[in-house]
């Protein structure tokens, strides 16, 4: 089977069960994308990711913020081949931290219906997924921080 024909395996994780249910529904007719696990707590997602080694981990930002991005790094050590797609609202500072910690992309909850499938596809292919607007906000935030670090070595 060619790499492009292999289904994308996905673990869904978010504190909100209705978000997990909605994602499953959106992916139900995507034969090339298989949901192989869920988690709605840090412990659950760590266990299922280590056990299943998914191609894509979808992770709600609210789960990450509890551990200040350490969860992202921990997940990526448990499953080094996985790519992480963050689900977020408009919390731009959490997004900057998450991207810097290893997340491959960010999808807004409000954009899920339109872009979920494409975002998973792109991230699984190794491409980042972030809107131009959000990228601008993240870049400006990081540029400001870089200047502060440079001014105070």
């Amino acid at each position: 089977m060619k790499k492009s024909e292999r289904p994308v395996t996905i673990v869904l994780s978010d504190k909100n069960q209705s978000v997990l249910d909605h994602c499953e529904k959106l992916l139900a007719n995507e034969w090339s994308m298989w949901v192989i696990g869920h988690g709605s707590s840090e412990a659950e997602v760590l266990e299922v990711v280590q056990r299943t080694q998914p191609g894509v981990i979808m992770l709600g930002l609210d789960l990450v913020n509890d551990r200040k991005m350490g969860l992202i790094q921990l997940l990526l050590t448990k499953s080094p081949g996985s790519r992480l797609l963050l689900l977020a609202d408009n919390d731009q500072y959490g997004v900057s931290d998450a991207l810097a910690s290893g997340a491959c992309g960010v999808l807004m909850y409000s954009d899920m219906d339109t872009w979920l499938v494409k975002a998973i596809q792109k991230v699984s292919e190794g491409e980042p997924w972030i809107s131009r607007k959000l990228a601008y906000q993240v870049v400006e935030h990081l540029r400001t921080l870089s200047c502060q670090v440079a001014a105070n070595p």
Binding site: T77, K122, I130, K133, V139
Partner: protein
């Protein structure tokens, strides 16, 4: 869409200037600056909202460092103005340097009227315009400069490892402990520990988590 947005085109190539002016004049007020010596004074005079800078043409005779310096001077002096650079000979490293210098977008030069209008509208709406690949690299490099986590890891240190050391590093990245690694590779646990000491020394990592993330970064880069 009518707009009072003012655009300054910086280019020593008249053909490019005329095409862009034609493509943009319906929606924006466009002014052309042909001579590189005039760039700063014209920016001061016209106070545009956005500068479109053609890096090709006479400026192509400059080496990358000199070209970057020209852009930095303009960018630092006119901080409120959005800045997009264009070139048909893109050098990823130069593009990244320009993005670090604070420009808001980069594109090839030979683009349709629709695309250049989209670029201008997008950047004026506080969006970034670069390829996905470079977007990811930019965020990672900025995060490293901002001393976020361990994204400043230099994965080239992994090239210094022996084949066995790389094998062990990969197993560490998968979360295996020394005892399990020894069992999997049919070697003594003390041998694994000796290899780990060497791996930490060669890579400069302080612990297994850092090593795991270094390996993860390396795998992501080499897969592309």
């Amino acid at each position: 869409m009518a707009s009072t947005g003012k655009i300054l085109l910086l280019s020593e190539d008249p053909e490019t200037c005329n095409k862009w002016k034609q493509d943009l004049a319906q929606s924006f007020a466009v002014h052309i600056v042909n001579h590189s010596d005039d760039y700063e004074s014209q920016c001061e005079t016209h106070q545009p909202e956005i500068i479109l800078y053609n890096l090709d043409g006479i400026d192509a005779a400059l080496n990358s460092a000199a070209l970057l310096q020209k852009v930095i001077v303009l960018r630092e002096r006119f901080t409120e103005i959005k800045f997009v650079a264009f070139s048909n000979q893109p050098d990823d490293d130069l593009v990244m340097d320009l993005m670090h210098a604070g420009i808001h977008g980069f594109s090839s030069k030979d683009i349709s009227a629709e695309v250049i209008q989209k670029i201008v509208t997008s950047v004026l709406s506080d969006e970034i315009w670069i390829s996905r690949k470079l977007m990811q690299r930019l965020i990672m490099e900025l995060a490293s400069n901002a001393q976020f986590g361990i994204q400043s890891l230099n994965t080239s240190s992994l090239d210094q490892l022996t084949a066995r050391e790389r094998e062990i590093a990969l197993l560490v990245a998968k979360g295996e402990n020394n005892k399990k690694i020894a069992s999997m590779l049919n070697i003594a646990e003390r041998t694994v520990k000796a290899h780990m000491s060497s791996i930490f020394q060669k890579t400069g990592m302080n612990d297994r988590l850092q090593l795991a993330l270094l390996v993860h970064n390396y795998l992501q880069v080499t897969e592309k």
